[in-house]
Amino acid sequence: MKKVRKARRVIKVKTPIENREIEKLRVGDQIEIEGKIYCGRDAVLPKLVELIEGNSLDRIKVDLKGAVIFHTAVSPAGIGPTSSNKVEIEGSIPALSQAGVKIHLGKGALSPKTAEELKKYNSVFAITPPVSAFFSDRMISQRVTAFKKEGMEALYEVEVKGFPAIIAIAHGKTIFATH
């Protein structure tokens, strides 16, 4: 008899994200993100942290409450996750979480210390494969929000639909430590 694969439950997540929605997410959950997300990586995330720490985030029009930050460049070649464990990116996660970012989206394992920081602010880390051609079908619009000089590494706001990811770190638990 042919084995039938059980359909997986996909949790829909719409930005801005409420704290109670994050509380329901578990490591290994498959999610689909919809709405406006921010895209930034090595060059701009430390700059964003500087603004947060200097209480001057209002200098740029960025609302981090309930936000998703996707660790990616934005270019004519599309979008796709860069390694989130790079110093500039992983180092920005605590301050950005404190400022309201709920989902940090990227790839690669993060340290236990970062997992603790995420737990502290009720934020999660999700991962997604670097499938840029696939993502190009799920992008509705894009615009530069800040740090334009950085080119493809500027801070972008991108509107997405059905954007797939898997929860990798949530509430002090990590998918990377399970094997």
């Binding site: 070649a77 989130s84 464990n85 790839k107 840029s132 493809m152 998918i175």
Partner: protein
Amino acid sequence: MISQKRIEEVVKKCLIKAGTAFRKDQLDAYRNAIRKEKNENAKWVLEKILENAKIAGEKIFPLCDDTGIPHVFAEIGEEVTLPKGWLSAIRNGVAQGLRIMPGRPMAVKGNPVERVEQSKGLFNDPGKLSLAPVIVKSAKGNQLKITVLLLGGGPEVRAKTYRVFHQRSIDVVLREMAGWASSEMKNLGCTPCVLAIGIGRSHMEASALMLEAMKEGNLNRQNQWEKKVTEMINSTKVGPLGLGGDTTALGTFIKIGPLRASGVRIVSMRPCCCFEPRKATMVLSG
């Protein structure tokens, strides 16, 4: 005689094909892995990668937004007469390919120090991304064989060129390299990988051999040592994207060059990402 124009055209086509299309051996490897994989999250990743390849091939769109640094092999037949400026033709073909594909505009502006510090921003033109030094090899006959490889940034972060005390055993050498690769798998993120290995006498030679392994390797043709290294990597159970499962590596490509009388081998290891090696080869007859 092969013209400059033909070289440009072939390099451009190779670059676009390398960046947007899966080869048959990659498609076969992914289909096999999906069939065997028991971890549902891992299977989901493998299916998404295959779906991505289908869309990229149909739309001629980059497989990955990190379209990579172009590396070119030119294998020149001894009876071929090349035109003046053939290296410039390769450079122009790369720039044209990057503009059409399109490549990611990631060339850094400024003087050497400004480039290191990335303080002057980036060029908007994808064609400004210069290619790595061309590797030239001689061959028999009257053909010019061009191969373009696109090397992404993630694997470059995790690659390593170093020395191994071989103790007169290939097993010792490969075990040590597989150990390096295994320790990088979780952080690589874009697994399943293909491990490329070069074994030579100097760091330059080992790196070039590793690149040659990427050029020549085929996932449907794996020798006993390549299979053994792949098994070692897969025993880590890191799996696709670090989600666990049996598919951490799809295969291994090994290239061994001439070696010297010594207790040391200089080796180069690159854990290529889930789309790599992104490569395409075309032949021009003189």
